[in-house]
């Protein structure tokens, strides 16, 4: 998976630079709101589209740039993340878990949007979407325009992906 050359040119960002923004945003969100310090393992060695016992939070961009930023993590890790965010024990997939993962995606989307759009009015963010399940796949229709960063925290892995396209 790599960032399409047209996207890299239009955003004026190399894949490594854009990955750096996503890594910084993820680490900032986790350190301030989740009270955890994930380490990145960029680059991703193997493309990942199939997830088992996992949860995915996504926020879309529309406007000058369109795309999706997403966080994918095992439910076992999502429970730890949610418990740490809320300061309460969360031990099942419920509204709190879905809301917490959606809010992380929302904050990541906001951080990336700030890089793409200094003013903020030419790129709109969607309301977060969360999916979870025993076995599901997530596919981008333009997966070549994608940066995916693996992270490790409390011994478990999660992924943050960014798909971008220059608007019409």
């Amino acid at each position: 998976m790599s960032l399409n050359a047209d996207i890299a040119e239009s955003t004026r960002f190399t894949e490594e630079l854009l990955a750096g923004y996503v890594i910084d945003a993820t680490q900032q969100v986790f350190s301030t709101m989740v009270m955890m310090e994930p380490k990145d393992e960029f680059p991703l060695r193997e493309p990942v589209s199939r997830f088992k016992c996992s949860i995915t939070g996504m926020v879309g961009f529309a406007g000058t740039y369109s795309g999706v930023i997403s966080i994918h993590c095992p439910v076992s890790l999502a429970l730890i993340i949610t418990s740490s965010m809320l300061g309460l024990e969360c031990d099942e997939v419920n509204d709190d878990l879905n809301d917490a993962i959606g809010e992380i995606a929302n904050m990541l989307g906001g951080s990336v949007k700030q890089v793409l759009s200094k003013g903020g009015l030419d790129v709109k963010l969607s309301i977060p979407t969360v999916i979870s399940g025993e076995d599901y796949t997530v596919n981008s229709l333009s997966d070549s325009d994608c940066v995916v960063i693996p992270f490790v925290v409390v011994g478990q892995k999660f992924l943050v992906g960014l798909t971008l396209k220059k608007g019409d």
């Binding site: 900032q28 301030t32 965010m85 809301d99 959606g102 904050m107 989307g109 759009s117 003013g119 309301i127």
Partner: protein
């Protein structure tokens, strides 16, 4: 001590903001919550005394910008601070010109809340 209204569609974020307000040592009494601008207007219309409003921008049904305009149109001058992932200069300028008092970017720390909100309470 102040009563605070938090308007955010994320229940997680409302809990985090509530906890952070107390961690920051701000003089907080009652905290009221609303899931969007329409609910926020409902809280204000119910007659509850509120000394500070904290509002997200990106929300369903009625977003934070519409909410600020509606509050000001009703003649309510309670300080409104936007707490949002939407940190773009133009969006913040629009919020401020609509009547918001200040803005805080998510993610935030309790110290940042203290710095921005301490002067309003």
């Amino acid at each position: 001590m102040a009563n605070i209204l938090i308007v955010d569609d994320s229940s997680t974020m409302r809990k985090i903001i509530s906890r952070s307000l107390r961690q920051a040592g701000l003089p907080v009494d009652e905290i009221y919550e609303a899931g969007d601008g329409i609910e926020g207007l409902g809280v204000l219309a119910s007659g509850k005394l509120v000394q500070l409003i904290l509002s997200d921008i990106n929300m369903p049904n009625m977003d934070g910008l519409e909410f600020v305009k509606a509050v000001r149109a009703s003649g309510n001058s309670t300080p409104i601070v936007m707490i949002t992932t939407e940190g773009g200069e133009e969006i913040i300028a629009e919020a401020m010109s609509s009547g918001a008092s200040d803005s805080i970017k998510k993610p935030f720390t309790p110290d940042q809340l203290q710095e921005k909100l301490g002067k309003l309470l």
